[in-house]
Symmetry: D3
Subunit: 340 residues, 6 copies
């Protein structure tokens, strides 16, 4: 990346089909579904593209009509699709029955392991060209648990990108409930430990360090920030960011934090108005990466990212379609509810 | 009912067509309606079927395409339809224009009196077989006011079921606004008084006792619970249950209560998030009946029933499609808003 | 009606709710319905209003939200609603499951007898003012079979209008399958015979004369047109009009005819492209009445009316929203399939 | 207007096409839009028609299918369309992407200047007949900035109506963001000053007086109400009304005020539940005009108007379809959330 | 099966999710899909249930919300679901982009092999109870190619059912394009040969015998019917049935045939009006099985089955929801296009 | 364009918003519209992109949310959007009420002249870079009549592209009904004559030469092909292509032709199955350009182009989303109606 140039982003991740019943209906109540194409990588680079950043996706789609439709959709959100390949016949799918009030949103996954992405191997991709094209590579923790091939590709990508001086950003995205068996957890821990030395930016929480990595657990309680900072120092990581959520009598709140080895910044708790919370974490990540790319201060970065995440809660679907202008509008004039 | 067996439920009640404009639109604003098949009995046995209880509906549907479609829908929610008959040509219908905030939901009923159900007579049904099949019969107060034939069938059913050792559950469902003429009220009062001696479980409120039945009104104010208990004792009723609603500056709250001759239990007031409140009372009733069937404590029963009613407020349509697991999830972890 | 003035039309008839599943689905296959307000009278005066003729409906709607929505809809199609009253609570309803190819469209009626219209009596309406306002009164045969009150109102309206020099137009609309019992048929026959002496224009077929009226049946076979003309002479009727349909290997065709005591005209058979055939007969009637109002030749009138009916087959819903320009376009340039 | 007669209303204003994505979706997320016909004048007279007041619109629609569809829609909401003309080919259009929580609603206007209304001139309309028909003429400030012809027609209408003893009601509707250039602002100021002497009722805020009219600015801060009253005295205006909005931690509130030269009334702040806030200001205006027409007290009028505006926030679309009964229901029993 | 009793049917087959864009749109053109649950077995027993025959499905659904929704849907079409199990997390899915005219319908399958059904094994099911319950077992050839486990279960089911005196009906459903590799074809051939000795009724074509089974190929051309009859004799098969399609200048036609060892019957070619041809073959099969169950003549059976298939072409979706009455109506009065 | 490289295409043309009522409804019958982004240039390069050809659009979109949504849509169909600019606030719009059978499709245009495209000037675009990027420039005749600026830009683009050795393709797209005044026609004629010397490929009909250009009219009747060829010779044009449509008793047919100075080829008449004919001409053009780019024979080219146009008649919307494979499938196996 030459001086004065804008950073270019690339994400390695799965494209999923999301099917959502309209108007908060449950699956038994409708014969109609809303179709969208999503995934952590899609959400992230789609949002960065809306921030006018050149953003690439490295993924595998089915070599059929559905793959073509997915590709059309990726293009429409501004994602650069040069490194998207089409092979095999299956795409991971999930159904989102949107909750309301005390009724939680229920997500039902269909087979992801045998998807074009799940079955793809490192050699299927133009990895080297991808690395050369972008300045920062984003990898989602889900790739480490989806299939052995995906995990291998992800780790190899991190190593190679790092070796070529590119930034690597890693999102823990660890879900304890999905990985309850000890064996599976041990394998995951190993993979996470293998990728961390090549990372510059991490998205995660203290629980990822204590529960998954079991990293110097005894140090974690006294001073959580110092604990995280020692972790960052250990792995030579620049930025560690994430969000916290609270809920009180049905009111949800959100704050964001951003920690370096020497500093930390966090936002106040903001009230959440939730239309669709899926993908809001990716909006936060996109905001952080934008601040990183443009050398913003920690505070400006985390406020922007959290504002972006708040907006993403108010947008249907996973992919945050927010622009810089919209986020700035929220930060500058949070009470405006009609723009014309 | 043999020991160790699960209780079987049966409800006598009307199936109605519900037509709802989408997205809170008013009737003038749309050419599209959402279609569903509902009714107190449908809601109740449909919900009990989702709790894995064998549940039967005793009703009459039109002998035409609409009746067939209604039947298909009853089956889809798990209701046993062996005792559903098809005759005549009309089904009661209502339009629900969904309110929002300060705008109330407006329900407009079309002709119910001349529906297949309204015109049906005791002899049209296999009453005896129905009674033999189930352990508990639910009757809705609306049957007592819909038509003379319905009232006669309902009362006869209560008597026969009681005579054969089956439990009878009766839901007052009395709406003062619908019965403002004194004559009509006197007839209704008589019918209610006729059915009460055969009942084991009642759903109602203190106002049903004072306003409709005018039962020892002077005793009602001092100690309302004692007043209700004396009523239960008089009619030899085991359980009396219902809900209370409050509204303060646009915030709605709900509590449930469950009273026996000697005990009583009630929940705290829970905040309501209302997507569609129609049918929530039937969800409460289904929860109470489940607790009754499984010998739960009063407290466990009323908390479960109230949790079920809270969820029903967050589900589109009348029929509560909640499962035991979903209700338990709310009671155990009320702040979870995303399940995957 | 003064010379040089445009004729004003009035129809006495029922407004019905029509509910149609989208995209040829059957009732079991959808939770969504398309809502429209229709009826022979609505269709006729709605179409005449689109021909820029002042057109009134005399009907009764429910005094509730549904009645208001129906009223709004009548206004939107240009019908003058001054003589529409709102009382009672029910509106007749029908479901139209649209057929395709060899699958016939299935219409399921819900209660019409107890609708606001079915229950309405002569005194409920401003009959005299209505008659004074219009030049031609249209009455549909269905009114004679719907309820005793409707039949009485219809016959009284015909007599009074005729007495005041207004034209009366009567549409047989007799459906043998709906009136299979001899008793009912005898009553109907009597009512039809009672109204005929006051009529100037009739819509019907030779079968109406032979099967329902059993009018000099032996004369009907030799020369059908002469037979009809003798009937017209007997009752002093000016115009007798109707359509014939054929079907051959799935291809439908339509022709129109128009007969006076001394003349007759008919169109060739035109191929039909059927999107929705309900209401097409009313489009034919509207075309005939327009020709009558404007003193067109028999041929011009019947060609226009048949063109209008052909267009109505290609319009969703009952109400023909065609304009003069659209009908003329079809007659002048039948092969144009794109106008811009 | 004769004694005892109901006031008749007329509005001069643009009809716009409103296109709204369903379910809070953004334009990129949907291929489906909801279509409605709106505009300040439409909203106002449509609402007054729902209050059973004879209400006319003076406007120009395209002379094409879209104009016909718009006309049908105006009729359906009860607007008298006698003075609506059809010429030219374009109608102003706007897209409303509905916001949610912290995400503001975004309105995108398409060309309005070259619409049938924007291009229309005084002579195109039957101005004199319109003035004779109505008792009160409503003019929206937007007409003064839309095009020179519209401004001329609006001012001429105000003068002529005033000269013939009709009331003139003027809505400032001034949007600083839309008129940021000084030149444009000066022209507007002049036009506003030209119309004010003919006005009886004004809808506006203190900012309209200070920012747009720059009227004795130094007097405005000490006693705002006295300041407004001196303005009313200067221009001989009877009523000055408007609303104030607040927002605190995501909770919106609304109050209304109504000021005469000698009196003033205002409501408390009411919590807002916002489904669609566009058009709510017109609902407030309709309520005020109803009170004016029926000689209600200031307090009754402003409470009714504010209640109407609160309901309008809870109705999809611009046009407030509220009836007197619905507004009264809110004022009398604000906690009722289900009517049947 | 006792004399005079109605035959009971059971099918072993996969339940699939079908997702269809509305109004002939392609996947890139819509964000909305219509959802249905289908499959050869579902279509067959669903249709038989509509013919009032007790009909069971033996299948495996996911143990998640999607499985529950599928189960609700099976119930709604009248299928007995007692032998449906829920395990694993995936259901086979296909997308149907509906063609029009010269544009073919395109079906895109997603992973079926790892579905709950694909992964299910014989021991997962209550095979013995299923066999005891039904009189005729239907097995689809797709089960033989879907997965090894499915093939084993299917073959075992055929053997056991046959051993217990139940009829076995087998549908070749062989698609050459899906099985182009010789290895796969050899395995399939072996499996087909293994199951045939236990079959009583076959659905197939002469090409199945020549291309897949390569059965005495040289005999096939001279007298195709005699060739098929010799095959039936060899395997002791009672009935062999299927359909033929032709297409000429865009007009499609269909005929059905039914062959026994000694007799054969076929219908004329009927013109097809195609709304959705998927599932029409299953409608034909259901018609044949009904004739078999009720001892109809070959001619009556094949005419009924072909009529049913023609209707199924005119119904959206796979599952033929036809009743006996509807099929008979087509056979008796093929030109009726409106029933009321 | 280097040898062996694929030709790159660029089109200069307007992007329009298309709004279509669903299911053949008319504007008065629906509150729902389907939204798409179309235009001759969009259709052409969108289709070429689906043929895997690099294809650019040169156009101006509004600088607002609608422009962004349009841009997203262009990307989704594979169009290269590097030369798309965003300025001004309006986009041309049209409503397409889809006809059926004898009812023609009616297109209603809204203001196009003041759209971002209509107001754009040559200097607003990166014309030079665009010309350098592509090998063939497509210009639509509509640009010559839309506005003076557009006409100037179009002519200048043709001249410059021609001067730099790029191919220029021009589509007459002349609609006599839209240009009935002689003045306007003379200006148009002049502009057409000005652009023709720079063109290599023309899409048009003999009527364009005789009626608009009035080119040696007397020669046109004897031998139409020779007449066209002399025109091609005069202007040094390589290819002249177009389609002919016939209609007989409701059956539509289509043929394509392709003429050079020395040769000509045409297809037989093919029967049309019309779902949506708008945009089919652009599909034909895209097919011709593909053949030109790949040096196919005249016959192969015109058959492919006509096949593509036939498919486009069977696709909803303007933009032909056909692939090479789909067109080839139609040419090779026209009777296949289901692909799986």
């Amino acid at each position: 990346m030459k001086k004065g140039e804008k950073m270019k982003f690339g994400a390695f991740g799965e494209v999923m089909l999301r099917l959502t019943p309209p108007e908060h209906l449950m699956l038994e109540q409708t014969h109609t579904l809303r179709l969208a194409y999503t995934g952590t990588g899609v959400n992230l680079v789609g949002n960065l593209a809306h921030f006018d950043m050149e953003s690439y996706l490295l993924t595998a789609l089915p070599d059929n009509r559905l793959g073509s439709a997915a590709l059309a959709n990726l293009k429409s959100i501004g994602v650069e699709t040069k490194y998207v390949i089409q092979q095999e016949q299956h795409i991971g799918t999930y159904f989102a029955e949107m909750g309301y009030g005390v009724r939680p949103t229920e997500v039902t996954y269909q087979n992801r392991k045998h998807s074009s992405f799940g079955l793809s191997q490192e050699n299927d991709y133009e990895l080297q060209a991808f690395i050369e094209t972008v300045d920062l590579v984003h990898i989602c923790g889900i790739s480490l648990s989806l299939s052995d091939q995906c995990a291998e590709t992800a780790i190899s990508l991190a190593k190679k990108a790092h070796a070529q001086g590119k930034k690597v950003c890693f999102d823990f995205n660890f879900r304890p409930t999905l990985n309850q068996e000890q064996d599976q957890r041990n394998i995951l821990k190993q993979r996470y430990e293998e990728i961390l030395p090549y990372c510059t930016i991490l998205f995660g929480s203290i629980r990822d360090l204590t529960e998954l990595l079991e990293w110097r657990t005894s140090d974690s309680t006294k001073n959580p920030i110092a604990y995280i900072q020692s972790f960052l120092a250990y792995y030579d990581i620049e930025w560690f960011a994430g969000t916290k959520r609270t809920s009180h009598e049905g009111r949800k709140q959100l704050k964001g934090y951003l920690i370096t080895v020497t500093e930390d910044a966090e936002t106040p708790f903001y009230e959440l108005f939730v239309l669709d919370r899926i993908g809001a974490g990716d909006a936060f990540a996109a905001g952080i990466l934008l601040g990183y790319a443009e050398n913003w201060s920690l505070t400006r970065t985390v406020e922007f990212a959290t504002g972006n995440a708040r907006l993403a809660h108010a947008i249907q679907g996973d992919v945050p379609l927010t622009t810089r202008k919209q986020v700035q509008q929220l930060l500058d004039a949070p009470d405006v509810d009609l723009i014309r």
